[in-house]
Every structure is written in C-alpha cells, then in structure tokens.
C-alpha cells in the first residue's frame, strides 16, 4: 500500500513538468500553467487577511477549486503580525503539517527550516519570470523558501487641490521663502506638514506609530539621513547623529501637532483610511492604497497626487521594502505537494499579479510591470500610469530590505517603545536611542554575531 502511494507520488511529480508548461486558456498571458487533477485533496492553508488581500483569494481560489477538483481549507486568516505569532506557536507545538502559508521577506528568516525549497517544486520557467532581486530577497540560506506575490515600498501621496490653490501658494511663500510644491526633502516635508496643520480638523501628515511599522519608518529615515542600523559587524550604530536626526523628525512633527495626537496607535489601516478621509495633507504609503485613494469611495477621489519619497540630508531617499509571499511547509504531505505548488502558482501568476496591480500593488514579475503600464496607458488612466512609473523608479533606485536576519522582529520590539518614548517626550532623542542600542547590543551578542 505504502509502495503504491509512493509510486503515485513519484508519477505525479514526474508529470508536473508536462502540465506546468501547458499554456492555459483561462490565463492566456501566463506562459506557465500548473494544473492537475487534485480531486480528493484538501489543502490546509493559513493566509494573511484583510481588505487589501481578500479580493485575490475570492477570485483565484474558486477558479483553482473548480479547475482542479481540489479544496482549500483556510485554517486561519489574520493580519501578518497575528499570523507571525500563530506560526511561532505552531512551530513550538509541532503543528506545522498544513501546506501553504502567507509569508513576508522581513519575517521569513525567523522561522528556521520549516519551509520547503521551492527550487525543484516550482518550474524554473515560472521562476524566471520574477524580478531576480526579489527572488534573492526570498531566499534564506540558499533556499528559495517563498514565492513573492507583490512588493511594497512607500512614496508620498498628497492632496493636489491644496497645492494648486493660489492663496495657499502666496501664504506659504511668504512664510517659508520658497515656492509651494510637493516636498523634495525631509525638511520640506516637515515644514509643509506644519504649514498645513489645523488640528483637530486637518493634519499636515501622519506616520504609523507602533510595532514593526514605526521601526521600518525609522530605519528608512536613518538611511535617508546617511546612517545605518548596524555596522558591518552587526553592532548597533543607529544612535549616531544620523539616527538622532531621523528620530528628531518624528518628534518635531508630533510636538508641532502636525500629526494626529493618536498617531502612536496607528498602523497601516489607520493611516490609509485617515488619508482617504481627507483630513491629512501628506501621507507616506505603499501603492496598494492607490486605486482606493483615487476612487469615489475616498473623500479625496480624483484629487490625489504622488511624488517619490523625499530625500534626507544624506542625499538618499527612504525605501524600506519587502515582499508579500507564499511558502510551502515541510510538513505538507508529499501527496499534496503538487497541489500546493499549483495553489501558490495561481496566487502569484501573471493573472494574479495583474489583478493586484490594478489596485496599485507592485508586481514582482518583470513582465507585469510592462503589461500593467500598457494597460493603464491604453485605458487613459493617467493616475495609475503615474503610480506605476513613480513606484517603478522607487523599486529600481531606492528600495532596500531590512537586515534579513532572524533578530529583525525582536530588534523591532526593543526599539519601537524607545522611539515612542522620545516622540511623547518621556526621554530625549539621544537617551531613547542609547537605551535601545544598549538592549540591541545584548540581543546581537546573545545571537552570536560578536
């Protein structure tokens, strides 16, 4: 019986390349298709959930189930922070026998060797479609542990009409001595945010204020200011002058009431929905909100502009970046492996990436960047064309990942309360960063870096 089972697995894996190279009528723009007859197979999966992610599942999973006869059982669907905690508990409990899980390039290094190497499971021709650098970032210890669905990097969204208003232009010039235009530097961003603010009705800007979100924002400002989080030996150096300038930027905006008072409780939903409510002038955010910001559902629909991340005094732009991905776990039974590969294919293929890109998410396939730009141009959608050209430039010139080390999240949990302490005035900027650096030093020593 066991021999028969193994024989069937081997046969199914051998037939995978044949089905993989067949172009599918449902997805004519996909050069590689991974279908199969998965009747009787139920794939247990855990996915990142929420408004930006669910529409893709609602479209693709029913197609996959109808075409293959397989079933997808979603064991868990939650925010990535919650999913991260759940995966860690699953590892501890030895409960990692489900097949497919959402992942992220910033998180993947923490989980040890629970993922399968996708080289050999996913056809090479399909992998060749992805931006090579993004695949590099998806690789841990030489193993491709995740397949990227979309990337994220942030740029600065603004309300166009307030920048076009002649009265605003005159007032701004009189106060700051230069013409009002969307900010090109961090200093201009701060000045303009203060200029626009009229709390509690209207705020100049906002930032995500807790957990890994504010750590990442601080990180990219440190880079823009010409600094770094760690030196080459992985010792913390973010408490130097560049780091202090970066943190001072957050503090100044908070003290000037140019950001909402509750900003330290904000995460991505709060900033995105806040900007769409028309009460914030400048909002640093990813492209995934783009279509929504400019839609009729948003109070600023049709009045949204976009510029690259302003430059810091170090002559660099922020570009904290990562990719949302899917992984297959080692615990996924061999007989379900082909079905799992098929599922992550349908969630990351050309069709899926075009679906997501229409909302503003950044593709991870080279060809999709070109195809989405052509589609938007053909539709005469200048807003989305501008979105993709701006984000394309950021991905090419500015994007950098956080250190891809297992200590990223523990490091974040050390530093973010200290950043908050400086912002609310419980500590000075220097004091907060020194305290964070001291604790980080212990963390890195314990992890064996030095």
């Amino acid at each position: 019986m066991k021999f028969l089972k193994n024989f069937l697995v081997v046969i199914s894996l051998l037939t995978l390349p044949f089905s993989a190279f067949a172009v599918d009528e449902n997805f004519p723009n996909d050069k590689v298709a991974i279908w199969g007859d998965f009747s009787g197979i139920t794939l247990d999966v855990k996915l990142i959930g929420g408004a930006p992610y669910d529409p893709l599942y609602e479209v693709m999973i029913p197609i996959w189930e109808a075409k293959t006869g397989g079933k997808v059982s979603i064991l868990s669907k939650k925010s990535h922070f919650e999913l991260d905690k759940e995966i860690k508990q699953d590892i501890a409990a030895g409960n990692i026998s489900y097949c497919v899980v959402s992942n992220h390039t910033s998180f993947a290094t923490q989980y040890g060797d629970i993922y399968r190497d996708l080289n050999g499971i996913v056809p090479k021709d399909f992998l060749a479609e992805f931006v090579p650098l993004v695949l590099d970032h998806s690789t841990v210890d030489g193993r491709l542990v995740q397949l990227p669905q979309h990337s994220d990097v942030s740029n600065l969204w603004y309300i166009k009409s307030i920048y076009e208003d002649e009265d605003n232009k005159k007032r701004f010039k009189a106060e700051y001595g230069y013409d009002l235009a969307p900010p090109e530097t961090l200093e201009q961003w701060k000045e303009q945010a203060i200029f626009w603010s009229d709390p509690p009705n209207f705020y100049g800007t906002q930032y995500v204020g807790k957990e890994e979100a504010i750590t990442g924002r601080f990180y990219e400002l440190v880079i823009a200011e010409g600094g770094a989080l760690f030196d080459e030996g992985m010792r913390p150096v973010f408490n130097d002058e560049a780091g202090q300038r970066a943190l001072q930027w957050f503090v100044d905006l908070y003290n000037a009431q140019a950001v909402p008072a509750g900003v330290l409780n904000y995460l991505w939903d709060e900033t995105g929905l806040g900007f769409a409510s028309g009460t914030v002038a400048l909002n640093l955010d990813w492209g995934g909100w783009g279509a929504y910001f400019n839609s009729a559902d948003s109070k600023i629909g049709g009045d949204v502009g976009l510029v690259r991340f302003p430059m810091g005094s170090g002559g660099k732009r922020g570009g904290w970046s990562g990719s949302h991905t899917y992984s297959i776990l080692n615990g996924c039974p061999e007989e379900n492996l082909e079905a799992a590969a098929s599922l992550i294919w349908i969630l990351t293929n050309h069709e899926a990436q075009m679906h997501e890109a229409r909302g503003g998410k950044l593709p991870t396939m080279t060809r999709v960047w070109e195809d989405i730009a052509s589609e938007m141009d053909a539709d005469g959608n200048a807003f989305m064309s501008d979105l993709f050209s701006t984000f394309s430039a950021s991905m090419a010139e500015d994007a950098f990942t956080p250190p891809l080390i297992p200590e990223w999240i523990p490091f974040s949990n050390i530093i973010f309360p200290e950043l908050q302490a400086a912002i609310v005035g419980d500590k000075s900027v220097k004091e907060a960063l020194d305290d964070a650096a001291k604790e980080t030093d212990y963390l890195m020593q314990d992890a064996g870096y030095y």
Partner: protein, 296 residues
C-alpha cells in the same frame, strides 16, 4: 496498601485526577522547567538548553519588567476598588427595587456577555482621538483640541481602567446582590426599632453580612484583573512607550512575538507571586469576616 489504592472511591475520582494532571499539573511543571532554559518557540531544540537561574537573574535587573509589575499593582488596586464601590452601589439600588428587579438584573449583566476583545475594540473606538465618540462629543460643546485619550501618560491608563470597570462591575453587583438577598431581615428591623438611621444600619449590619461576599468577589476579580490582557492588548498594546504596559502584555510580547518563551515563563512565575499575594490577603480577610459573623 494496593487494595486501598485501587479502592472504589479512588477509582471514581481517578478521571478527575488524570484530567487535572494533564490539564494543569503537567503544563505547570513543563512551563516551570522552561523558565530555566533558553527555550525559543521557533527553535524547539533550545528546549533542552538548560541555563540555570539566568532568566531569573536577568529579570532582577530588568527595570521595564518591574515598572510593568508596579503598573499592574496600581491597575489592580484602582480597578478593584472602583468596581467594588460601583458594584456595591448598583446592588444596593437594585435591592431596593420591588418592581422590574429581574429585568434590571439581566440588563446589568449585559457588559459581562461581551468578549473582552469586543469590549477593547468598542472602547478603543470611543477613545479614538480623531474619529472617536468622546472627542467628537466634546467638540459639540466647543472644545477645540483633540484629547489623546489612549496616548497621554495618565489618560491612557485611565481609559483602559474605564473599559475594564465597565465590563466587569456587574460581577461585583451580582455577587453582592446575592449577599444582600440572603441577609436576614430581623436584625435590620430590630436596629430600626432601636432608632438606627440608614447609614448605621448599613455600616453595622448590612456591611458585616456582606463582607464574605465582598472578599469572594475581590478574590475572583483580583485573579482576573491580575491577568488582564485582552482589553489592554486591543486598546493600546501596552503602549505608547510602555505607558500602559502590564505584566501580561509584556510577557505575551516576549513569549510570542520575540518567541523567547523561556524568559517569558520566568516572568510569569515571578508574576504569579502577585496573584498569590492578593488571593492570600483576601482569603485571610474572608476567614476573618466569617469569624466575625460567627460562621466557620
């Protein structure tokens, strides 16, 4: 000996012993053991990396933990006292009502029916500085500044206390109402005949009768509040800048987000001291109160 061991009564309680063993004793022993290891959730092999008292030694120097510990004691003290006061007030008022008491008792229990997660979201929305009900209500009366309820050094903890008290005061009210309904009428009527006013009746008769119920309620709630997590996690996550960090939000972050379960378990065992201290104190008081009433 063996005949006694396998006697009928023992066999009858064996399922309970096994259930308690598997559900309580074994996990307790296991977690206590892990507090002496460098156990990380994401590295199951670290379970066998024995580090002796290192986790406990680090705890002693960890000022953030002791601040959270102190904050938890403050939280316990304020919340328990206010819940007791409000619960007692509500119970006394409902006890006076002769019509519709059952309906009111049911309505009073509504907050207890919400899950703590839902209570957290509900109060997070009410206290939101931008779109929250409270600030927008204040704007109606000409207040022009957004009050950062969940950010301010004092207001943030106060806001969480309000949510906790709103959700759980009815536990006190129900327990104390049960006590009030059980008080014999004779001593009260005798006191009134002797010329005692309402305050004297309450202080000298009603309250002493209620004291055992009060200490039972305090014991139950001190264990609950000492483990407060859900509402705090949802409303502030312990922040900002650890201003609302209680021991269990801290332990959860270190245990689950940092995956540093060995250290988190060491924190948990030190934190249990708090629960034991409160429980011991209230039980001592309970025994004394029962003794005063002439009960065993």
């Amino acid at each position: 000996m063996s005949r006694k061991f396998f006697s009928g009564p023992f066999i009858l309680i064996l399922p309970s012993i096994l259930a308690i063993g598997f559900v309580i004793i074994i996990p307790l022993i296991f977690s206590f053991y892990t507090s002496f290891t460098s156990y990380k959730l994401t590295r199951p092999d670290s379970l066998f990396n024995f580090v002796g008292l290192r986790n406990y030694e680090r705890l002693i120097d960890n000022t953030k933990f002791w601040y959270a510990f102190g904050r938890t004691i403050l939280f316990l003290a304020v919340v328990l006292n206010l819940e007791l006061l409000f619960g007692l007030g509500i119970a006394l008022l409902i006890n006076k009502i002769t019509w519709g008491q059952r309906t009111l008792r049911t309505i009073m229990m509504f907050p207890m029916m919400f899950s703590p997660i839902l209570v957290g979201f509900q109060w997070k929305y009410i206290f939101n500085d931008n779109i929250g009900l409270l600030n927008n209500f204040l704007y109606l009366f000409g207040y022009e500044s957004a009050i950062p309820w969940l950010i301010d050094k004092y207001l943030a903890m106060g806001s969480i206390m309000v949510a906790e008290i709103w959700a759980n005061t009815s536990i006190f009210a129900i327990l104390l109402l049960a006590g009030l309904l059980g008080i014999p009428r004779d001593p009260i009527e005798a006191a009134r005949v002797d010329g005692c006013n309402s305050w004297q009746v309450f202080k000298n008769i009603t309250l002493p009768f209620l004291m055992p119920f009060i200490f039972i309620a305090l014991t139950i709630r001190s264990l609950d509040v000492g483990r407060a997590y859900d509402i705090v996690h949802i409303m502030t996550g312990g922040g900002p800048a650890m201003r609302t960090e209680l021991i269990w939000t801290m332990i959860a972050r270190i245990g689950y987000k940092d995956a540093n379960m060995g250290f988190a378990n060491a924190m948990s065992y030190v934190s249990i001291i708090l629960s034991i201290a409160f429980t011991y104190y209230f039980f001592t008081k309970l025994v004394a109160a029962r003794r005063d009433l002439g009960q065993q």
